[in-house]
Symmetry: C2
Subunit: 263 residues, 2 copies
Amino acid sequence: MRILAVTNQKGGVGKTTTTINLGAALAAVGERVLILDLDPQGNASTGLGVPPHERKETTYDILVNDAPIEEAVINTLVPGLDIAPSDADLAAAELDLSQTARRNFRLRDALERFHDGRVHAGLAPYDYVLMDCPPSLNVLTINALTAADGVLVPLQCEFFALEGLVQLQRTIDRVKENLNPRLEIQGVVLTMYDSRNNLARQVAEDVRAHFGNTVYQTAIPRNVRVSEAPSFGRPALIYDYRCAGSQAYMRFASELISRERQI
Amino acid sequence: MRILAVTNQKGGVGKTTTTINLGAALAAVGERVLILDLDPQGNASTGLGVPPHERKETTYDILVNDAPIEEAVINTLVPGLDIAPSDADLAAAELDLSQTARRNFRLRDALERFHDGRVHAGLAPYDYVLMDCPPSLNVLTINALTAADGVLVPLQCEFFALEGLVQLQRTIDRVKENLNPRLEIQGVVLTMYDSRNNLARQVAEDVRAHFGNTVYQTAIPRNVRVSEAPSFGRPALIYDYRCAGSQAYMRFASELISRERQI
Ligand SMILES: Nc1ncnc2c1ncn2[C@@H]1O[C@H](COP(=O)(O)OP(=O)(O)OP(=O)(O)O)[C@@H](O)[C@H]1O
Ligand SMILES: Nc1ncnc2c1ncn2[C@@H]1O[C@H](COP(=O)(O)OP(=O)(O)OP(=O)(O)O)[C@@H](O)[C@H]1O
Ligand SMILES: [Mg+2]
Ligand SMILES: [Mg+2]
């Protein structure tokens, strides 16, 4: 079970879109995937067609009320892709956990119990857990980084997004030192990439110069079908398999799998 | 002195870009404008050309250490436009204020002292204070909403952004009830609008149906010059006055002024 935190405190860079579509692409090639929606906006839950009234147990219950993860997990319309949804209650987690011991380990402890429980029950473990993080470095993101084996950083090819990388790297280093020594950047994926745009090409060059091979070869192009898909509650791969965005996410998923095989 | 909170917890919708360019456009027509950078990313400070080593007193010091606002205020390259900058320290404000009395009123109290101080010293008051908020509904955004006369909501014409409006409205209602009875939505401004895109047109229609005249007539178009400007530390109005983005921000500013005159 590989646990990846999909995070970047810069807003609107494609964290949720990458979590949903990478999850769907991995499931499409037979991997068992669980998505944890750690954003109070609940966009990953909505983008996978989970209506608000079906979010009975949420990641808030897992983090704050010690609810077992298996109670929150529900199937999505994509075979092999499940989700533990979130809703606006999650916004209260920061204050509700502020007096709790081991506040940064809540998710890691819950995932360990969950994984052991599945093994005990003779259930096939999940191959991947993808955690969609909110656009901040608060207790939700710190929980994800503490539980994760690796960090997947979606990066929009814009100036402000580049600036945020320094703060993100500093946070990852601090979590690695104090909370989770095995934490590494698994990869950086360029999103909403438009090769005709000078700024995008320049940012992509800077990022590849700085992060080297950590940056995936596959860049996800800006593609309107990708932004339409969530309004139908489907990943782009189901909404429009042939569009440039879906094809890029399929290539990205196979690149990720071969990178994982080398680890 | 009109105090406006530029906020939307959805990430990447154009809060910072709107704060910088509306601020510059208002200053261009003679209004005195102060920007408060309340985002730990410090994008508004960078986008106005304030290098990290010049951010000696920041909004963290105002909120947590009771530093007077006038100590943090610095001029920008735009005459009539000043800023109180921020840096990554601001990310610690949530925890550092968690035990503080009147934690939600820190900014409001500081702004009242600041305004009184200027009047006492015979200095012209600022006409507008624009607060750039982070993409979350945490103590920084609550401080801004508690201090504000009105809320300016930049809205990207995308599905996830539409979904976030419900949560934002609920938070504004709660702040109005418990912390700031004068709080109103001053306006909603559509950003990165592409009229050729079906989804954008549909979202714009939904928003206008729901919010009526609160939605500004001027929609800010997606325009690459706007996203290039911050890498030169300048607002779009200085970087490229003639581009479609700058012209839209100028129209938006004059629409905002005439709306303010009617209040
Ligand atoms: N490849 C793409 N092409 C076109 N639009 C995209 C693409 N990827 C994401 N988007 C759109 O851009 C917006 C931002 O993406 P998304 O919401 O996934 O980012 P995020 O980082 O999760 O945002 P937040 O910081 O609010 O959590 C969304 O409206 C999404 O539909
Ligand atoms: N009208 C526009 N045309 C083109 N690009 C734009 C426009 N407005 C904003 N952008 C770009 O979109 C990205 C998001 O904008 P911005 O950073 O202002 O949003 P934000 O809401 O402040 O984000 P955050 O939630 O991280 O604070 C930036 O890279 C910015 O340069
Ligand atoms: Mg998201
Ligand atoms: Mg911003």
